[in-house]
């Protein structure tokens, strides 16, 4: 760490060291020279004092001369002379040789020998003058008695007068010279300071310009590196981020991550917080455990990829509108090492929705194909036009049922009425499914009817009892749709080969009636033969042929279920074991159509109808006794009236006849029923001429 810092910042460290060294040198010199200047000041001061001392010595000599008779004054003058002489002598000596002197305040100071030539000259000359002067003064000071003193005084005074001025001048020269030296030192000091500070400033400027530039350069590099990283993170299509041990998302992550998760500011968030409510709790917990494994040094990361629970995870992203957006993300995890230790996990998230969608679609279409083949086999035998017609009827019936359901009604009675209406609609398409031998529809509608009956049997019907019915309805609608899709495909496939005929007769659908008869008679344990005539001779619209077909179906079903006796019964009655049903279509000269369904069974059981009517409370028993056979017979056209002992798929749900009558009425037709006990029943439908029918419609 220190080494790298030294390497990186060597230049700046050296520069700063240089700056400090410079400052320190200037400071030291300053310190040193300041001391010298202080010393010089003492010298200047003392050399100035020499001038004053020489004057005082002269004055003291005169004082001695004029103090004759005044012993006190004389002694004072002598002491003064002694002191001055010693001071002057010692100071001059100190200037010459270097050494101690007495300072202005009386303390001892050390003087260095003056060494400039001018100073030396002054000192040497001064010493020459001083030597004899000092001897003369000493003679004065050492004189013993008045006479001796006077004798010594005279030459001293004479010498003083002769030389004092010269001595004074020399001392003055010394002072000036010492001052001059001090001044030049101060100048030098200022120079040194100026140069030092200038160098320091230059150094500082170099640091400032050069290193700031370098810093800015490296900052720029860091910034551009960061910008590159940022740009990469901004533009990559994958979600990229680092996870630490606590599974916290790094502050830097790719922009795509926000887009993918439809969420901002993901840095600092835990992975759990990001994924919760998007993936199931179970997957989330497994993911936590998996990531913990990635942080374990002893586990080989390359060997656990298969255990990654987020390899292809379904992510449900709430769009804040109450809807889920389902996506598939693939998370991959890579260890990030720092100094040989696992530091973070680099996570890459890729949106693989499209891939998964395609895979699913493939699987789904395979499954759909299989289902379609199933449906296909169940409808393949049916006449395509009839099937189309039938599908349309189912669609209409489903619409009707839904409309009935939708009608607001709350009470038990209203709901029960609803149930009856639904039953009628479903029963109708059930009968036709049976006729067309469409087993899937037969099953669906039969189950539907059973559901209706379950509800019907309840004491207090409520709205939620209808839930299974609406579920059935949806199933029926969906099934119808899938068959429609299939027939549309088949239609497109075979349209080229299709016959151009506009009108078709029932004869082409002959087989489905026969199928129906065979199935019904088998179920009821009866033997019946079907005879037809004229069915292919009258051209008619699909609507008309549909009605007649439905009528035939209902007639056959009723005949087999109610009319025709079992083979053993017929044997006892001396009838052919095999019953007969006859279908006949004819057209009068006016164009009116007559369609007859006739059987040779036991005829309509009037007593049974009366009983049933009494049971259903249509009228009282006594009233019913008075009803004519015709009136009783017409009851079979009433909704919900059924006389079969048990409800079977063939009869006994009492809705078919009711509907047929409605349809015939709608076409301005009429129905006639004739029955002879023991001999059979004949139901005739009269319809206006086909052309007139289409006009009426």
């Amino acid at each position: 760490m220190f080494d790298t810092l030294m390497g990186k910042y060597r230049n700046i460290v050296v520069s700063i060291a240089l700056f400090l060294l410079l400052d320190a040198s200037v400071l030291t010199l300053n310190f040193y020279i300041s001391f010298e200047i202080a010393d010089d000041a003492v010298g200047v001061n003392l050399s100035g004092r020499q001038r004053m001392l020489s004057q005082r010595m002269v004055k003291s000599l005169h004082d001695i001369q004029y103090s004759a008779g005044d012993e006190q004054a004389r002694q004072r003058a002598l002491d003064e002379l002694d002191l001055t002489q010693r001071l002057f002598s010692s100071t001059l000596n100190a200037f010459d040789q270097g050494g101690e002197a007495i300072g202005a305040d009386g303390s001892e100071v050390v003087l260095e020998a003056a060494n400039s030539s001018a100073a030396r000259l002054a000192i040497v000359e001064a010493k020459e003058i001083w030597q004899p002067y000092s001897t003369l003064i000493n003679a004065v000071l050492n004189a013993d008695g008045e006479l001796a003193l006077n004798q010594a005084l005279m030459p001293a005074l004479a010498y003083a007068r002769a030389n004092n001025l010269a001595l004074l001048k020399l001392m003055n020269n010394l002072t000036v010279e010492l001052e001059h030296v001090a001044t030049s030192k101060a100048t030098r000091l200022r120079w040194i300071q100026t140069v030092g500070i200038t160098l320091a400033i230059i150094n500082f400027l170099i640091i400032l310009v050069h290193f700031l530039g370098q810093l800015r350069e490296s900052d720029k590099q860091i910034e551009s590196a960061r910008k590159e990283t940022t740009e990469i993170l901004e533009t990559v299509g994958e979600g990229l981020f680092l996870l630490d041990k606590e599974r916290i998302i790094s502050s830097q992550y790719s922009r795509a991550l926000e887009t993918m998760f439809v969420r901002k500011e993901l840095g600092g968030l835990s992975l759990e917080a990001l994924l919760e409510s998007m993936v199931s709790d179970k997957d989330l917990r497994t993911a936590q455990r998996f990531i913990a494994l990635l942080f374990r040094e002893d586990i080989k990361s390359n060997l656990i990829g298969d255990l990654n629970p987020l390899k292809e995870i379904e992510v449900n992203i709430s769009d804040n509108q109450g809807h889920y957006l389902t996506k598939y993300f693939s998370f991959t995890f890579e260890r990030v090492y720092d100094d040989g230790k696992i530091k973070d996990i680099l996570v890459t998230v890729v949106d693989v929705s499209e891939k998964v969608r395609l895979e699913r679609e493939l699987a789904l279409s395979k499954e759909q194909n299989e289902r379609q083949i199933e449906v296909l086999t169940s409808i393949l035998h049916a006449n395509p036009d009839l099937l189309k017609l039938y599908l349309k009827q189912v669609e209409e019936a489903a619409d009707d049922v839904n409309t009935i359901l939708r009608e607001p009604s709350k009470g038990h009675v209203a709901l029960k009425r609803k149930l009856d209406q639904i039953f009628v609609a479903i029963h109708r398409i059930k009968g036709e499914a049976s006729a067309l031998n469409l087993e899937s529809f037969e099953e669906l509608t039969h189950e539907f009817e059973l559901n209706i009956k379950d509800v019907h049997g309840k004491d207090n019907i409520t709205g939620d009892d209808f839930l299974p019915l609406v579920v059935r309805l949806e199933k029926l609608v969906k099934h119808t749709e899938s068959v429609q899709v299939l027939t549309a495909k088949l239609g497109a496939f075979s349209s080229g080969a299709k016959a151009p005929a506009r009108s078709e007769s029932i004869s082409s659908d002959w087989h489905h009636l026969e199928d129906l008869l065979n199935k019904s008679s088998l179920r009821c344990g009866k033997q019946v033969q079907l005879f037809t005539s004229g069915l292919s001779e009258v051209p008619m619209s699909k609507e008309l042929s549909g009605l007649l077909s439905d009528f035939a179906i209902q007639g056959i079903r009723n005949a087999v279920a109610h009319g025709i006796e079992t083979p053993s019964e017929r044997e006892q009655l001396n009838k052919d074991i095999e019953g007969k049903i006859e279908l006949r279509l004819s057209q009068s000269s006016k164009g009116e159509l007559e369609f007859v369904v006739k059987d040779d069974g036991g005829g309509i059981d009037i007593d049974r109808i009366r009983e049933k009517a009494a049971e259903l409370g249509i009228a009282s028993e006594t009233e019913l006794e008075s009803w004519s056979a015709k009136r009783l017979t017409s009851l079979i056209f009433e909704p919900g009236f059924s006389t079969a002992a048990e409800h079977t798929m063939d009869a006994g749900t009492g809705a078919g006849m009711d509907l047929l009558r409605q349809r015939v009425n709608a076409m301005r037709g009429r129905i006639r029923i004739a029955s002879r006990s023991g001999h059979g029943t004949k139901i005739s439908v009269f319809l206006p001429a086909p052309a007139a029918v289409s006009e009426a419609a």
Partner: protein, 150 residues
Amino acid sequence: MSEDTLKIFINGVLNYFQHTSDKDVKVGAPYLVENRDPTCFDYTGIIGVSGPYKGTVYFTAPKILLTHLLLSLGEQDTSNENIMDIVGEVANTISGNARSEFGQEFMISVPVMIEGDGSKIQLPEQLRSYVIPIYWKAYSAAVVICLENV
């Protein structure tokens, strides 16, 4: 879709009304609607469902019903804000009920409330929704369920 699944959502609503002073809440006969024109009243609370079934469930009610609902809960302030709140509460109850019934495999979103026409309710157009009318006092509301089997 099964009857039981539908019941789970309906029960969510019924549960809520059980807590009101007028507990007499009735379920009407359910029916189907094409998703092209979603049914809705004045206020709607929508929750998203994901997991084995995916789709949307919403509770929608007219303002008058919600106002009375607020009053019956002892809330005198029937401001718009409070009405939005109560729709959210009902949707929350549906969501909570579904969460506890369906378990971990399902994800149920936090409800979103909308006011006004149903253009904001997005449903897959090719599918149908189940509409279950809810009658309370003299008013009717509905739970609408559009779930796809995945």
